[in-house]
Symmetry: D2
Subunit: 337 residues, 4 copies
């Protein structure tokens, strides 16, 4: 940690600071420059992280040298992690596609969607039984009934189920039916939910918060790993910006950025990010070209009647066409699909 002092910091203030650093068991190194005095601190930054050194008299700013996360970092584990969801491996050579409706609406629509996405090459079935909805008057999901339909449709077609957990009291219920627990964007910093999911034996798909920096995203994942669950896949799903032609701004640069900083696999959700089905295929191709380990895509047999997110859902036929195109791109980056 580097502490930059104000130009007019007094000797007494510097001595007070140095004393404090020593009291924490660390080694201060004072270096007097032309315009500023700087104090470098040698030793673990953890002790300092909880100490608000900015408030010490004479201090101008404090610059941490190390990253605030550990277990998720490349430095902790240089090789890329592969997360297994049943037999499906995310983070390896194969690009994994998770597809299905936004919400589970009924048994039949889910079954028909599952068959269609399986045939087109998807390996996992997505679909919400519990739905985080901006308005209290929107459809909130079928609950356990929806989970049952997901399990049934997945088993009938050989897919794995990924579905959202919204409530700490539902962990066991969701674990019972799902192969992978999804934590949604709006819950990325629901720390109680992170702690519970971190103790689950099921792998977790963690979606990036609407306005989470990559650092905050990795710290949310750190919650999971620090509770013992290392089977974590990150999902970029668009961040909030001023642009209004798309529902969110898909931050595809986050894919190579996260891969540089962390060993965890990264998948991309172009459906929620863009909010328009026409833009899903180009962004799916771009995501794989950028190095994504997987895709999460909304497919609905009849978007005209969808209970949620109809505008961004692909018809099964369009999804099959997308898969063919993405497969070609995958090949050019040394991946299969």
């Amino acid at each position: 940690m580097i502490i930059v002092l104000k130009p007019n910091a007094t000797k007494k203030q510097i001595a007070h600071l140095v004393e404090k650093i020593k009291a924490l068991g660390l080694k201060p190194m004072v270096s007097t420059g032309v315009e500023r005095t700087i104090v470098g601190v040698i030793g673990s930054e953890d002790a300092l992280r909880v100490q608000p050194l900015e408030v010490f008299p004479g201090v101008e700013k404090v610059m941490p040298v190390l990253k605030p996360y550990k277990l998720v970092s490349r430095e902790f584990k240089p090789e890329a992690s592969v997360v297994a969801v049943g037999g499906v491996k995310i983070g390896g050579k194969h690009v994994v596609v998770m597809a299905g409706p936004c919400s589970v609406e009924n048994r039949q629509m889910l079954m028909s969607t599952a068959r269609a996405v399986r045939q087109a090459g998807a390996q996992m079935l997505r679909g919400g039984a519990f739905k985080p909805r901006t308005s209290p008057y929107s459809f909130q999901g079928l609950g356990e009934e929806g989970l049952k339909y997901l399990r049934e449709a997945a088993d009938a077609t050989g897919l794995k189920v990924v579905t959202e957990l919204m409530d700490v009291r539902d962990v066991e219920l969701v674990e019972k039916y799902a192969d992978m627990i999804q934590l949604g964007a709006r819950n990325m910093q629901n720390f109680e939910l992170l702690k519970e999911a971190g103790q689950s034996h099921k792998p977790v798909l963690l979606k990036r918060g609407l306005s989470a920096t990559v650092t905050e995203f990795l710290l949310a994942a750190e919650y999971l790993l620090s509770q013992g669950n290392f089977n974590v896949v990150l999902c970029e799903r668009g961040i909030r910006s001023f642009e209004d032609q798309t529902r969110f701004t898909l931050d595809l640069s986050a894919v190579p950025v996260i891969k540089a900083l962390s060993h965890l696999p990264v998948v991309v959700d172009p459906s929620h990010a863009t909010g328009h089905w026409e833009y899903v295929e180009p962004m799916a191709k771009a995501a794989v070209a950028a190095g994504a380990d997987g895709l999460m895509i909304e497919v609905h047999p009849n978007p005209e009647t969808a209970f949620s997110d109809g505008p961004e859902s692909l018809l099964p036929g369009k999804f099959a066409a997308l898969m063919k195109e993405v497969k070609k791109v995958a090949k050019t980056v040394g991946r299969t699909l």
Copy 2:
């Protein structure tokens, strides 16, 4: 709701859309312009809100005419709401100040802070027993022990307690000790928590999410009211922007905007928004000048040793000085403090 058709929309497509609208029990009004055909829909927009009309062939865009929230709106209740927390009334002539440490650290520091803020004119004691922390390695709060200290300090000084609820399983526990339940910014769209707090008999302080629009903020409040809890106070606490000299960007315009759209009281938290104690006083004065019904301010007897948010905490002496200055501003806008 207004549906704008594409320039090349066919008669068949228009007929298909019109039929659908009628099937929902609504009255379509087709109006053919020079460059576009438009379909106005007369009747409740609720039926249409769940229908993804954008996906109908020939449709270019759908423009809702009505606001998506009801119970929180000025149209539902034109006069301003006053929320009573014990005898303390938020939303009336008196500007209510909630002050205290970011986290409850121990009994003694809380007691001394409570005495100091009470003496300076605060009416409510703030302090976290459960802390939402970006890093899993940061201090997570004292839990029930912290709640007990809050209750004790408040009772000893005649303050009311507002403290954060983070976990749906803790509702009764927090209700037992607190006078007002705080829902934090990171949980503004934790819909399960909103539903639980909406069923509580305690008033709720709802903080605006880091990247929540005012509309989303009001919809989150709508969750609370629609569950029966009308004792809701909104808190602007800074939104995320590109600016990095402050921790967040305090959106003070949100105060008059929300007051125009909703009957709920609005308080402002300049401490978390700016992240620097030097900026707290000017922004507190600005907030009251803009029409805020209250302030939430961090005070710590010794910011050098604070477990969290030291840089933005005021010393008791500085807080007392702030109160004097804010009082003068309050008077100019016809308020007391």
Copy 3:
């Protein structure tokens, strides 16, 4: 244009509004709904665009139905435009790569960079002779000397020159040496410069402003076309967001969005957007996968000594490798490179 009235709008207010609309030669259509009265306006929206109808008493909001731009729109010209820069065609089957240093630093470095990028397959040479620099103390460019080097290096290698115009007084000077005039992100709404460039006979590369919406970006291009210059290529180069791991947030969704709304070609600059050379190749591949018509990439023979933007510049060897990879991606989307 649709005018939504307030719930309590009076008959007199409605009559006043209707009269005004008629006075503008337009046809008002009043439609009385359950909760709101709405006035649709038939006729050209241009007359209404300059009239601040929001301020009429009783008006709640005004919703334009048509897009504010014309000449740049797909509706005006459904087929994609191809912009010729000398013999190089942007917007056709071939993906055009513009490469070179951020700033022209000296004759020798430019010549060696030109040769290297030409050999690797670039068709255009980029490089700044006039540099928009955030700090007045940064290198501001070589001026005309730099333009001469660009021309010389391009002629010697068979490349076309694209370089930035910053000053309305330099139009002829830049036209003399350049094949294509670049208007930088910080000048996207320098309307005087847009008007001058709109009257130039040289094609224009218009970069998106740091916080410009796609609509504002297209309106800036409309300035150029409305002055007579239809040879316009748009460049997505990253927008401002809260994320700080990259210099800007590359908004790749803008590629399919712009292609849906406009006939103009779109190129992508992954160097400025990410600010780190390691992320340039993945984002270049993603851009082409998303449908970009070209790439603008910074290449420097020795980034360690670059006068500007060293961290995002590729060494010639790395650029050649990038070209090979991007070529493969281009093929999968039916393009050559």
Copy 4:
């Protein structure tokens, strides 16, 4: 400047870096920590600012210690600057109000507005003769005719004129009629215009760019001061965010932030920031409470017929009422108005 090395940086890489730093005439100080080696550099950071040290092998990140601006900083000049515009002093005890229409539309409306704002207590007349408009089809201003009307109206009423300069070729023209040159938000990084205005003998009002950080804003001002013009007033006018209930997000915290970093006066424009006249008065009061040295407010005798920005303009009567309210707030912060 602090250079943080990668965990695996080699001795050879460190030696290479140290050598480079010495070659620049600076003194490197290598400090080997538990997890990272750090190189502190003593001497002027200017030499290093142009050197892209991030690209040196083994370097993880470079952290500047000093601020990138000088002449505008509090460290260069600790006492607050007062900028005189004719006899009107901005930055002293008196809060200066600049009021008038968005655009100069004709002689009569300007004269009547000037009289009204003068009577209500404004000291400066604002109004655009050259208008930066997002659409090429919007009213672009009266040009020199507008400047003449401004001069005439100001002279007749005893006001000073502030008006926008958009084109480097118009400097002398605007200087001839105006008392203060305004540089608009969209031109904040039009560096050619900054250089010209920096050589003017007239004071300059510099508006913050839509997505400019405070640091970039101060660097734009540094362009003016470094050219010799120290009579610079900064204007906060709202920044771009995701919030859409206001036209921009007024960043009032920027007032105390800039005052902490710089000696230049700061005024606030609540009209453009909010885009709705109802929000202008509360935000004007908030601005003065936060410490603003002045206000820029749009007033129009008949907003229903305004050529631009009607929705945010105040009627003269409402402006007079605002002045009375703001005066009260000014008094509470030790200012007059």
